[in-house]
């Protein structure tokens, strides 16, 4: 697969890389750092995810809201014996900051990196901030791959000593516009050096199959590990909101209807008519169905040629990951 491996035959030797290289269907999760300095939050979430994922993404100021840094949180995750995938956006750092932070992240034991453009800061809690976007995500992939493979900084200057050896990934939103260009742009990410790809949440299996066909035709699935993004729906309202507001997120109506159907016993009642217990029971019914749908999606995705794994995004619902992975028959996770 990807570029010439060094020494031990791996690019980074990360657990995720080994799992994928050995041909196992990989499972990655997501861990959102808190909006405070409490490391215990990370430890608790890490405990929920450990053993259920091969590695977990640590988001980088997700949706442009200030949170504990992905590298800081990643260091705690390493201590907890779970493998982090550091997310890094182009929004907040220039090429100097990116490289120095990655040298630090490697020194702290981090081995996987996901390169992202980053949500625009106008979405977040500091909309008056200046953004950076010195590089874009493709240029970042290229920069960190070259740091690893040729021991040069972005400026072209060679460096001595330990190079940061990351398993480098990028994101892909298969249904964002212009949709015909997405597989070609994915090709650019692969050309830049990406070894793995995590996609936006997939709910529309047929559309994803079409995307994957194009990806296979371009020969990309042989050059890069593609992890399809999945996530449990929490409620029909949330599903509708995501469908209407998140670019590139397609949710078939039939899935939203399934979610709504399990809430039927409580339907037609106003907020005030529902007791606390009612609401709890309805939530539980929705969540059970959300997890069930997620498991079915994983099973369907597994059948698609060229998909190397799944990336489970259960944001602020890390408890859902275990039942999903277990339900999909993906436990225990391979030890490689």
């Amino acid at each position: 697969m990807p570029p010439e491996p060094n020494g031990n035959g791996y690019l980074s030797g990360s657990n995720l890389e080994k799992v994928l290289k050995h041909g196992h269907f990989a499972v990655t999760g997501e861990l959102g750092p808190p909006q405070n300095a409490d490391g215990e939050v990370i430890r608790k979430k890490a405990k929920l995810l450990k053993g259920n994922c091969d590695a977990v993404n640590l988001t980088d100021n997700q949706t442009a809201i200030v949170r504990m840094s992905s590298i800081g949180a990643g260091a705690i995750v390493v201590q907890e014996g779970l493998e982090p995938i550091i997310q890094m956006t182009c929004r907040d750092r220039n090429r100097l900051a990116m490289q120095s932070d990655l040298l630090g992240a490697y020194a702290l034991g981090m081995r996987n990196l996901l390169c992202l453009s980053g949500d625009h800061q106008t979405f977040g809690n500091h909309p008056t901030a200046k953004n950076v976007f010195d590089l874009d995500s493709i240029q970042m992939v290229q920069m960190v791959s070259l740091m690893r493979d040729t021991k040069v900084f972005q400026c072209g200057e060679a460096f001595k000593g330990q190079e940061p050896r990351f398993f480098v990934g990028a994101a892909e939103s298969p249904f964002a516009n212009p949709i015909e260009f997405r597989p070609l742009r994915l090709g650019k990410k692969v050309k830049a050096g990406a070894s793995f790809i995590q996609t936006q949440l997939i709910y529309d299996i047929e559309a994803f199959k079409t995307f994957m066909t194009k990806v296979r035709e371009l020969g990309l699935s042989e050059k890069v590990y593609i992890l399809a993004g999945v996530g449990p729906l929490k409620s029909p309202t949330m599903a509708r909101y995501m469908k209407d507001n998140v670019p590139g997120l397609w949710i078939p109506d039939q899935l939203i209807e399934r979610m709504a159907a399990v809430g039927a016993p409580w339907a037609g009642k106003s907020k005030d008519e529902l007791t606390k217990e009612d609401k709890k029971a309805r939530s539980a019914a929705w969540q059970t169905e959300g997890i069930k749908i997620c498991i079915e999606l994983i099973q369907q995705i597994r059948e698609i040629e060229g998909v190397a794994g799944v990336h489970i995004m259960a944001i602020e619902w890390e408890e859902a990951v275990k039942p999903i992975v277990e339900g999909a028959g993906l436990l225990p996770r391979p030890i490689v």
Partner: protein
């Protein structure tokens, strides 16, 4: 051209609060055609200030004048006397105009009446949109003549990002996705292959990031005067 818009009257009033005599200086170039600081706007501003300050009980003497181009010193000589007679000069030029006056009239207190917004063009009556970021290293030849530096919210060189939705940018449904525009144009011209190359990191040194910029053209310089 340079697109600007007027500051709110309350802010302008605050900027000239200490003065009794005010000279509003319009500019006959960019800000005239974007209706922010031409002869008409200068006259309206002066009248508004006269009336507003009179209503506040501290009526100021406000005169107005327009120069052809506030950003060239030679056009400023003609207003030197008027500038010398007032307490404050309210420039309705762009930020360059304000500074040209500051550099030309060492004793004058010059304040801005406009916010200089961007380099752009009128896309329809009453609408102006940004087109150029003056990055100093034009890449329009690569992108079908559509600038991602100025028009992509993230200035991506290898776009579009995942936030492109139905032709618009993730930040706002009113903002067209520059990379969708680039894609459509190159596609219609049969030049999509140009998008397959990875564009390397940009050299931002020619942009503002390299520090204040200056161009020296030896071929146009006058010979140094003999000592």
């Amino acid at each position: 051209m340079i697109i600007a818009e007027q500051k709110p009257l309350a802010e302008v009033k605050a900027l000239v609060a200490d003065a009794q005599k005010v000279l509003v200086v319009g500019c006959g170039t960019c800000v005239t055609v974007c209706f922010a600081g031409g002869a008409r706007e200068a006259a309206i501003m002066a009248a508004s200030l006269r009336m507003a300050t009179q209503l506040d009980g501290n009526g100021k003497e406000v005169a107005e004048v327009v120069v052809q181009r506030q950003c060239e010193w030679e056009y400023l000589d003609e207003i030197a006397q008027q500038v010398g007679e007032v307490d404050v000069v309210l420039s309705l030029g762009c930020g360059i105009g304000v500074q040209a006056m500051v550099e030309h009239f060492s004793n004058a207190w010059v304040v801005p009446g406009l916010n200089t917004s961007f380099l752009g063009l009128p896309t329809e009556q009453g609408v102006w949109a940004e087109r150029c970021a003056a990055c100093g290293d034009c890449i329009l030849g690569l992108t079908g003549g559509i600038c991602p530096i100025a028009r992509c919210s993230k200035s991506l060189l290898n776009g579009p990002c995942g936030g492109s939705e139905n032709g618009h940018c993730e930040i706002n449904a009113e903002v067209p996705c520059a990379w969708q525009l680039i894609y459509d144009r190159l596609s219609s011209l049969g030049k999509l292959d140009r998008l397959l190359e990875i564009q390397p990191p940009k050299n931002w040194r020619t942009a503002r990031d390299g520090g204040p910029r200056k161009i020296v053209r030896p071929d146009l310089r006058l010979p140094a005067e003999e000592e």
